[in-house]
């Protein structure tokens, strides 16, 4: 609880502005802790190629998906949003203005809008139209998708390696990947032998042409690959993904049970749900679950439809699930620590991709 120094209203810990008067509140601990991904990750060389392996989005749909309109994100919640009010060009007469001076009139409809609102709550006018245009043009995902697939030289597999990323974000040991098959697990020694969440034989890496491929050796906890931000990945029934410390399972469209003797099972209105997202809390147990309505859902620590207020590794707004042309997709929204999708049997590992196995994070360099 943060008590506003200006109006004494009590605000929840994650509020940046006072609910009562709009004054900026002191920040405490909402900045997400690093999830062992180095700060420089944005500069990592990453393959412009889109791999064709499931569960990636299908190429035929990718263009349309990537250019689908998306809300402008603030991926790092600690980044300050505009704190000072907009300039007031056409103020209402004093007697019409609400008490206090913490609102400013909407340039479109004139309604008094709290200064911390980005959009007018009466007419929906974008109060920062200028800055949002800049942001959307700079992050056009279409470029990423349409980048040509350049034929790369056969990699120097001698140099191919998995680099351990330590909790502080620095690089640790590197494990060489041979040109043949490299098995990794608790039984293969090194830092792997101490990780109780790795199966004795957990993952196998190999090269196919110039592409690194990882195969899940039917491990208990699986292998997770970080997905690219803003690139939709198709979700299938049973797809498991991870944001922050949370392991989530997508359950496909909820098919109605057959009804005996013509009687239908009664229940809450079914709003055409696309499926359900459940928190995995055990081998055969899930915790909270949320049906995904046709318009999709957003997931984040502070913002969205499904919130993880206690997980500091989840970004304020982290990812979204939505539907296009009858398929359901997961999109990372530029989160700090990334969205990881569990490999189903095997998957390509593009250069520079982060891979989670057991308790540890690696980067595939080759």
């Amino acid at each position: 609880m943060i008590v506003c120094s200006r109006c004494s209203k009590e605000n929840q810990d994650h509020y940046r502005f006072c609910l009562g008067c709009g004054a900026e509140l002191p920040r405490h601990s909402a900045k997400p802790r690093s999830f062992a991904v180095p700060e420089t990750q944005g500069a990592e060389p990453s393959s412009p190629k889109r791999d064709t392996n499931a569960p990636r989005a299908r190429g035929a749909h990718a263009g349309a998906l990537a250019s689908a309109p998306s809300v402008e994100m603030d991926p790092t919640p600690a980044r300050a949003v505009r704190a000072e009010p907009l300039s007031v060009d056409d103020p209402l007469p004093r007697e019409l203005a609400p008490l206090g001076d913490e609102t400013s009139p909407c340039s479109h409809c004139g309604a008094q809008v709290p200064v911390n609102f980005r959009f007018c709550h009466v007419c929906g006018n974008d109060l920062h139209a200028v800055s949002s245009t800049e942001a959307s043009s700079s992050g056009a995902p279409a470029e990423r998708v349409s980048a040509p697939a350049v034929a790369e030289p056969r990699p120097e597999t001698k140099r191919a390696r998995l680099v351990l990323i330590q909790p502080d974000g620095s690089e640790g040991e590197a494990f060489p990947l041979s040109g043949g098959r490299t098995l990794i697990g608790r039984s293969t020694g090194g830092v792997f032998s101490n990780d109780a969440y790795l199966s004795p034989e957990h993952a196998e890496f190999r090269f196919e042409e110039d592409q690194l491929v990882v195969k899940d050796m039917e491990s208990l906890n699986g292998i997770y690959i970080r997905i690219e931000p803003d690139v939709p990945i198709e979700l299938f029934d049973g797809t498991i993904f991870r944001i922050g410390q949370e392991i989530l399972r997508f359950e496909g469209p909820l098919a109605p049970d057959p009804a005996p003797d013509g009687t239908q099972y009664m229940g809450s209105p079914h709003r055409g749900f696309l499926g359900r997202v459940s928190l995995v809390i055990g081998r055969h147990a899930t915790g909270n679950s949320y049906p995904v309505p046709p318009q999709g859902i957003y997931l984040g620590r502070e913002r969205g439809d499904v919130l993880f207020p206690e997980d500091g590794y989840v970004s304020g707004l982290h990812c979204r699930i939505h539907s296009e042309v009858g398929h359901v997709f997961l999109t990372d929204l530029g989160s700090s620590n990334g969205t990881f999708v569990r490999v189903s049997n095997e998957s390509f590992v593009p250069k520079g991709t982060f891979v989670l196995m057991g308790q540890q994070l690696f980067r595939a360099d080759y």
């Binding site: 109780a196 009804a259 003797d261 009687t263 229940g267 809450s268 809390i281 909270n288 206690e310």
Partner: protein
């Protein structure tokens, strides 16, 4: 001049008091309607101790405001029932429930229906794991927290799960068609249900109150508490339940009110 005070025999014009079957003077028989002075009701609805069911929200084919007088001993309701039919509501089993008198008391009995009979709670109602209840348009079930061993697998690998929080019970929404919808694990000892600012929020459900109901655990026992919601909270009955004046029932989509003439 004054009026004869009793029945007058049609044979001998003698006066015959009520209760006599024959004229004491001439032996002529007294007609049946003159033998007793029982007062009849203008309508059967006035009969004391007899209940009726008013359809508050109902079957499209049968209409709202319809009432059923429960004059017999047993009254079967269902999609194919003769006495209380709801032919167009496919949430009702063909034979769904029975309204029956036992002595002076009226009971409702679930006749093994698929979807059950729900009665409006009066403020608080005890719950057991597996019980179902309705708030607004939403149907819920109370579930136990699943047990999952935390030990390692045979090969000594531990399962990596999301961070777990202790939770004594959970509330699961049941969707039309029987599938599970939203699931909310109780954080502390209670789950609050309503339109906004609760643990389970249904902003689109216009029949739900802002704060509608909550399920609480104290010790080992669960209680469902209606928070003075406008439309009430309904609990599925087990077996049968005595009914009183003013009780509300859901049978499928049909909302019924029980009225008992005093």
């Amino acid at each position: 001049m004054e009026q004869a005070r009793n029945y007058v025999c049609t044979e001998c014009a003698s006066s015959v008091p009520s209760g006599h079957k024959f004229c004491g003077a001439c032996g002529a028989s007294v007609p049946l309607e003159a033998q007793t002075l029982e007062t009849r009701f203008f309508g059967a609805l006035q009969a004391p101790g007899k209940a009726r069911l008013i359809v508050i929200r109902g079957d499209e084919a049968m209409g709202e405001g319809l009432s059923y007088l429960l004059q017999a001993t047993e009254h079967v309701a269902g999609r194919e029932a003769d006495q209380i039919p709801f032919p167009s509501d496919n949430w009702l089993s063909p034979i769904h429930a029975n309204f029956l008198y036992r002595g002076e008391k009226l009971f409702v009995r679930d006749e093994g229906s698929l979807n059950g009979v729900y009665i409006r709670t009066r403020r608080a109602s005890p719950l057991q794991i597996g019980d179902q209840f309705i708030c607004g348009q939403q149907l819920f079930r109370v579930d136990a927290t699943p047990k999952d061993s935390s030990g390692p697998e045979a090969d000594q690998t531990y399962f990596y799960s999301s961070p777990r929080r202790p939770s004594p019970f959970r509330i699961t929404q049941i969707l039309e068609g029987g599938m599970d919808g939203i699931v909310c694990c109780a954080h502390e000892q209670a789950v609050q249900i309503g339109r906004e600012d609760c643990d389970l929020n249904f902003p689109d459900d216009v029949h739900m109150s802002p704060r509608h109901a909550r399920v609480e655990m104290s010790g080992e026992s669960l209680t469902l508490i209606d928070e003075n919601s406008q439309n009430g909270t309904y609990v599925r009955i087990r077996g049968e339940r005595e009914l009183g004046h003013g009780d509300y029932l859901f049978l499928g989509r049909n909302l019924l009110r029980v009225e008992v003439t005093a």
